[in-house]
């Protein structure tokens, strides 16, 4: 029974490994330099979502529209503070693909903890792979139940 269970699960583990290692570089666009102005105001960023390609050189002009704000970019550990009328320029290479949240890092009022924007670095292979893993998990569990559940009629 244990052998049968392992043989049932193994293809899905291999498939999951394949999805995780699958090269997705062919989805990537050529890197370029992007100049973006990001305006922070209570309690949102404009634009709320930034799309860049992996490898892009991003020159970010951060400005505050009302009070002092900050920026912390998840995954990149990029941090800055900006005062109204004094824009800051930040530069980084978007070398990690996926979705990364940027947050206000200076307490700016009641909704400050939820002042969040999103940087999406495409191809978003993390999401593609994990969504694939979800489908493989579902298919794997169903197959396991079909073949190996106690009293299974098949296999």
């Amino acid at each position: 029974m244990l052998r049968k269970r392992l043989l049932t699960v193994l293809p899905f583990i291999l498939l999951a490994g394949g999805v995780w290692l699958l090269p997705l570089d062919w989805l990537a666009a050529a890197p370029q330099t992007r100049q973006v102005t990001l305006t922070a105001s209570q309690f949102a960023f404009d634009p709320p979502i930034l799309h860049v390609n992996r490898g892009d050189r991003v020159i970010l002009t951060l400005q505050a529209a009302d009070v002092v704000h900050g920026l912390y970019l998840d995954g990149y550990d990029l941090q800055a503070r900006v005062e109204p009328g004094l824009p800051r320029q930040l530069e980084f290479i978007a070398d990690r693909s996926g979705k990364f949240r940027y947050r206000c890092s200076v307490s700016c009022g009641s909704l400050h903890p939820f002042m969040i924007g999103e940087l999406v670095v495409t191809p978003n292979d993390t999401f593609i792979r994990l969504a694939g893993l979800a489908l493989i998990t579902a298919a794997g569990v169903l197959t396991y139940l079909r073949r190996c559940a106690p009293g299974a009629a098949y296999g």
Binding site: A44, F45, P48, D77, F114, A138, R146
Partner: protein
């Protein structure tokens, strides 16, 4: 069945000694009550900056994370045993904190109305709190008034009704703790049912000279699920037959108890799923206009938000699940009404519901945990530095790992939920046919996978 359970009180005699004394729960409740009162005081008189206020940081980040990521999955309703909200009312009812004073109960001691003996009120109170969550999570004063309100209502109900009426029928937190405690690898149960059947009177319900009757109104002799057992251990103290114990068991054992599935609890599951999704979109999403609607900046805007919030929780999530259950019924050829399947399969969503809340809470706690250090030194935000940590700056933790962590939790919840719906489906199949159960699981798996992909889209997409 028996081989999947281990008697924790036999394995750890110190646990028995601890639980048979009321001292531990009273001491723990006094400690949590001190923290609770501090949260109220800080909320009402401390700084309005939430990130610097003990009321916000310790209630909605520290306590919440400890509850949803640790206490509930591992220990079920253990929090209810040490919760500060019902403690003052219970002590008043008993006219004592530790010492037993029989025949001197305070209050009217009325029974809770029969028509309200369900968790519909808890569903409503949770939704009410959830609708105002943007205000509650960000305004210390609102949190302060809310906590004070819980305390006052609980106290008032203790003086009118017997036992812990607030906890069992009204507490917005108690409802979902109850549902998620079905998954816990821990349970309080009787050792032998026959002993209870033959023994009269029922000391566990009525109390004795050295113990109180179950404040939750639960009869351990027929107890099969953690849903309403607050783990207060009064029955352990009162049982003259030494027939009560605490078992370690496989997680989720209560999900297979077929006879006690109910629509009100099924709706609690849908509400928890819907709220996990909506909170992730509204609170963690990039859409400022949505946060403004939730923030009650205009009544009209909030009304639109509230209508959408309620529609998702009460119509969309359960409505789609009804269609899924109907599909499962058709595919499997079950002769049962769709309503029955709709209720039963909802319990299969519980693992994914907990996973969704853990995924959401991970984001909340890892990003904001470092606020706890300065707040410990300066709970009111008045410029104190009691422990020398007031100057610690905010630093999000492990944000690079966070999406992967959330995805892993969701995948585990997905696998667990598919196994659960299949096992429930086997209870519907004549002679527990695996083929019919498997076919019923197909649309249910599609529903579960769709929900996971939706949440992954919010966190990672």
């Amino acid at each position: 069945m028996a081989e999947t359970r281990r008697d924790a009180l036999v394995r750890w005699p110190w646990l028995r000694r601890t639980l048979t004394s009321r001292l531990w729960s009273a001491a723990a409740a006094l400690i949590t009550l001190a923290g609770f009162v501090l949260a109220i005081l800080a909320g009402l008189w401390g700084t309005p900056a939430g990130a610097r206020n003990f009321g916000i940081v310790f209630v909605w980040i520290v306590w919440w994370a400890a509850l949803i990521i640790g206490l509930v999955p591992l220990f079920g309703r253990l929090w209810c045993a040490i919760c500060p909200i019902p403690a003052p009312g219970e002590w008043l009812q008993r006219r004592g904190i530790v010492q037993q004073l029989p025949e001197r109960r305070l209050g009217l001691g009325r029974r809770w109305p029969r028509r309200l003996r369900n968790i519909w009120l808890q569903n409503a109170s949770f939704l009410l709190v959830a609708l105002f969550s943007m205000l509650i999570l960000t305004r210390p004063a609102v949190t302060g008034w809310l906590l004070l309100g819980f305390l006052v209502v609980s106290l008032a109900l203790s003086l009118v009704f017997e036992g812990r009426a607030f906890c069992r029928y009204l507490c917005p937190v108690g409802g979902f703790i109850g549902v998620f405690s079905l998954l816990a690898p821990l349970e309080l149960r009787v050792k032998e049912r026959g002993v209870c059947q033959q023994h009269s009177p029922k000391d566990c319900l009525t109390g004795t000279n050295c113990s109180y009757g179950c404040p939750w109104g639960v009869y351990p002799g027929t107890l099969q699920r953690n849903m309403h057992c607050g783990l207060c251990a009064e029955c352990l103290r009162s049982c003259p037959q030494d027939n009560i114990t605490i078992n370690l068991r496989l997680p989720a054992a209560d999900l297979w108890v077929a006879g006690e599935r109910r629509l009100d609890e099924a709706y609690k599951v849908f509400i928890m799923l819907g709220c996990a999704l909506l909170y992730s979109v509204v609170l963690l999403g990039p859409w400022g206009w949505l946060k403004q609607l939730a923030n009650l900046e205009t009544w009209g805007g909030w009304a639109i938000y509230a209508a959408g919030f309620l529609a998702v929780n009460l119509l969309v999530v359960p409505g789609l699940f009804w269609l899924t259950s109907a599909g499962a019924r058709r595919l499997a050829g079950f002769p049962l009404p769709t309503r029955r399947l709709f209720i039963d399969y909802a319990y299969g969503l519980v693992p994914l519901g907990l996973a969704a809340w853990i995924a959401f809470s991970l984001s909340l706690v890892l990003v904001n945990a470092t606020y706890a250090l300065p707040v410990l030194s300066d709970p009111f935000g008045w410029g104190w530095d009691l422990l020398g940590t007031a100057g610690v700056h905010w630093q999000p933790l492990a944000t690079g790992w966070l999406p992967g962590l959330q995805a892993a939790v969701l995948l585990a919840g997905l696998a667990f939920s598919i196994l659960a719906v299949y096992r429930i489906a086997r209870q519907h199949a004549p002679r527990a046919s695996t083929d019919q159960a498997w076919r019923a699981s197909l649309p249910l798996t599609a529903y579960l996978t769709g929900f996971v992909l939706l949440l992954m889209g919010v966190y990672l997409g």
